[in-house]
Amino acid sequence: MKVVKDLVAAFSLKAEFAKRRNKLYRIAYSWCHDAALADDLVQETIYKALKNASKLRDVNTMDSWLYRILYNCWHDYLRVKGRNVEFVEMHDEEQVDHSENYQQSQIVKRVRASVEQLPLPLREVVTLADFAGFSYAQIAEITEVPIGTVMSRLFRARQNLKEQLLEFGSDDLSEFKLRRVK
């Protein structure tokens, strides 16, 4: 009976992870800007999450737990590769798929390029906040830094982006601004 119960639990957990896969992938992509690497990172994250499922005490914290694993996988990768934080080759040029509207694709490219230029700790925090929608406390938990550090990183990231995007905005964004539904 216990085996059946464990199997059911494993399947349901796997389904929960699968539901979150797409968002995990997009966050991983926002950090590394490399589709294949983002895929690998998410794959590894889900593998580790399944392996360590017993450590997840509260299902309500599943999101921050999963992103914490992703964050660790990403930093393991950087360590192993001996890369410093300013890494990454842009692949967006041919892959931004907004061909129906040239202006939209220009905005997306510009924003991604601006995010890419941020120092990695700032990039991670700003995407966790602005794309994944985590609270400061959750980001502090995921990145294992004090909440004050999260705030200051977010502040610096947005200041930096604001300067870059406002310059761009005067030409393009003043008439057409895109937003997203989470």
Partner: protein
């Protein structure tokens, strides 16, 4: 809080809703009178929304390609839905505009329609529809604050504005006397600013079925159409849609 000199740190906390209710309300009130503050908030919100948008549709993963090849078209539809676009035209970057707190959510198709229509709207009234589907105090409070701010901003800029508030689901409860703490505030919006209030007829019917008593709404509420009819009608005409 020193409202005159709100730090950028504090504004970040504000746009991320990390302040307590009193502090949030204090800044909401300050925004009504302070054009520079509105602009600063607007810029921060714009940055946040743009970062969110930029990664909403990233190059596909190999896993997705594999899954798509073996699964039904439902998966593709879900992906398509996830890249729903939202457009806010001429709200935000310009100096005298205030970008609403709430997200302006419309489909890509609506977005393009909006762009096609917005020139006409631009030369006439600003037309904004505020959609409330919750009776949660914080949500409703924020929505009504948004309404106040929008009206104040456009009034200050001498720009005519037409604001419709469409309620459905639990949102209709904010229009029920004896149940809602917002009746007086909404009546003021109607009387002073000409805001039109709608309650979804389907939601009213469902509430009637669920509660078994007549659903009495405040006077002046239009209730002969559903939110599903009212909102697309406006979107097609180029209204800006704000979801509370």
């Amino acid at each position: 809080m020193d409202i005159k000199n709100i730090s950028e740190d504090k504004l970040n906390l504000f746009v991320d809703k990390q302040l307590d209710t009193d502090e949030m309300n204090e800044i909401h009130e300050a925004l009504l009178d302070d054009k520079d503050l509105r602009e600063r908030v607007c810029q921060l919100k714009a940055v946040r929304e743009l970062v969110g948008y930029a990664y909403s549709d990233v190059p596909g993963s190999a896993y997705d390609a594999h899954e798509q090849s073996r699964s039904s078209s439902m998966f593709a539809k879900a992906i398509a839905a996830s890249v729903t676009l939202v457009v806010g035209v001429l709200l935000g970057w310009s100096t005298y505009e205030y970008s609403p707190n709430a997200i302006q959510a419309i489909s890509a198709e609506n977005a393009f329609q909006y762009v096609a229509n917005h020139v006409d709207v631009e030369h006439g009234k600003r037309k904004i529809v505020l959609h409330i589907d919750s009776s949660d105090l914080q949500v409703v409070n924020a929505a009504l604050n948004e309404a106040d701010q929008l009206l104040a901003t456009y009034r200050q800029a001498n720009t005519p504005i037409e604001l419709d508030i469409i309620t459905n689901k639990k949102g209709i409860n904010i229009l029920r006397p004896g149940m809602s703490p917002y009746i007086a505030r909404i009546q003021e919006l109607v009387a002073n600013d000409g805001v039109a209030i709608y309650a979804c007829d389907r939601s009213i019917a469902k509430a009637l079925k669920r509660e078994g008593v007549d659903i009495v709404l405040m006077p002046g509420v239009a209730k002969d159409k559903s939110a599903r009819e009212l909102i697309p009608e406006r979107l097609k005409q180029g209204w800006v849609y704000i979801k509370a």
